[in-house]
Amino acid sequence: MNKLVIENLSRVFPGVRGGEPTRALEPTSLAVAENDFVTILGPSGCGKSTLLRLVAGLDTPTAGRILLDGRPVTGPGADRGMVFQSYTLFPWLTIADNIAFGLRERGVAPAERDKAVEEWLGRIGLKGFERHYPKQLSGGMQQRTAIARALANDPAILLLDEPFGALDNQTRALMQELLLGIWERTHKTILFVTHDIEEAIFLASRVLVMSARPGRIKADVAVDLPHPRHYTVKTSPEFSALKARLTEEIRAEAVLAAAEH
């Protein structure tokens, strides 16, 4: 069953000072199945973040529509959790209060909030940090909290916009394993934007490759690597084959994108 359906969705940003309008996203159609982990892979400036922001309701499409569980998306809402590339934990709240933020906004009872916080602190390995403020934590810990904050709200779909983009390679790899572990347990429907080919394959059951501006989906690749996935899968022949294929796909786009700038 399809969780998320995108129909002829496009976004054109008006030109600045009489300049050419920017076609960030060409009319795009897409269906994401329930429990699927879909990564959107593309060079920077290809409109993949625009697509995600449209799904989140943080931006309004020029044309087309988005259906979540059959209902049209008209604005942001708690049913679509989002994790951003920048660190967006609320600096004035402790880690525990950050995780509980969405629950509080939705009027969930304190006892239930505390239970959810407790549970998520354990899942992201941050027990003992509940009373810390975000700036006392490393970037990786902050992004783990951001994931917990989004998931504690139990959204219908989780959207991640290059959440590990600012992290170092080692931390990034650990974060991928953590997120994949969470997905393998919960099977939450996930849309994950990245420009990292390895990350896209390792996490996904399906990789969508986006073309350089104007953005559109140019390839839809199923990833049939078995679960639970261990990090060593990254060195397997199947992984390498996928990586080679996606590298070709993305390279052509990167070259195009580079020529444009």
Binding site: G77, G81, T88, F90, W92, F101, E105, Y133, P134
Partner: protein
């Protein structure tokens, strides 16, 4: 000295105090050394003696109390009006479009120039003093709070809406807490300005307060008393600054590195 390199706490205190010492030493040298006439500038010792007699014989403590009351009263009134308005302006752009041009204009109206008018309207009583400080502070606070609230990180607001926050939640639980330390800093700054307004208000048509004592002393050429009055204002300012900073540290531990 290396650019931007931090300085240890003890060195900071020592350096801060040493400049006060240097300043007083130069003042003592100029006056006690006979380089400046006593008529124009009292020496530090005379100043202290004059100050002592002011406090013990002329009820200067009452003047100090009255002035503090005026500053705090006018300032609190201004803050009560200005902070909510500033938050509204920073949050809702139509409100900002409505009020910002007028507030920007009103901000440049010198509070001291209102004194004759205010005397006409409110007499020479307490209300007039409070109004001078109110007018001097309110527009500044509105504008600065609006800018602070308006520049809250957009991605924090976006994160909040994807977590289900609505307008009320965004204002109460994102915009206000996020800008609270900066708003406290604005209040600290404007309180400092309020002190200059109160003295001006007391120089004209007043029968009490530090400013009134200073203008009285002028008639007697009592420069020692005048300087004592000015220094008292400085010391009170320093104390209120210190209290504000300490309160901010307690209230907003998250905003400190």
């Amino acid at each position: 000295m290396t650019p931007l390199a931090p300085v240890s706490n003890s060195a900071r205190v020592l350096l801060g105090i040493s400049f006060f010492v240097l300043f007083i030493a130069l003042w003592a040298l100029a006056t006690l050394g006979g380089f400046v006439s006593k008529t124009f500038l009292a020496d530090p010792l005379t100043m202290l003696a004059d100050g002592w007699s002011l406090l013990t014989q002329h009820g200067f403590l009452t003047d100090i109390g009255v002035t503090i009351w005026r500053v705090v009263g006018g300032f609190v009134l201004a803050a009560l009006v200005a902070v909510p308005l500033g938050i509204l302006m920073g949050t809702f752009k139509p409100i900002e479009a409505l009020l910002e041009p007028f507030v920007s204009f009103a901000r440049y109206l010198p509070a001291s120039a209102f004194i004759p008018l205010l005397i006409l309207w409110a007499g020479i009583g307490e209300m007039q003093k409070l109004l001078v400080i109110f007018i001097g502070s309110v527009f500044q606070i509105i504008l600065m709070v609006a800018v602070t609230v308006g520049s809250v990180r957009r991605d924090l607001v976006e994160a909040a809406v994807t977590l289900g926050a609505r307008n009320r939640g965004i204002v109460l639980r994102v915009l206000i807490p996020s800008s609270a330390p900066a708003v406290a800093e604005i209040l600290r700054l404007v309180l400092g300005w309020a002190w200059t307004y109160v003295i001006v208000a007391e120089l004209i048509g007043s029968s009490s307060g530090i400013g009134h004592m200073i203008i009285d002393s002028q008639a007697l050429l009592a420069t020692g008393q005048m300087i004592f009055g000015i220094i008292v204002i400085g010391v009170i300012g320093l104390i209120s600054d210190f209290l504000f900073k300490a309160a901010n540290r307690r209230l907003f531990p998250w905003s400190l590195a």
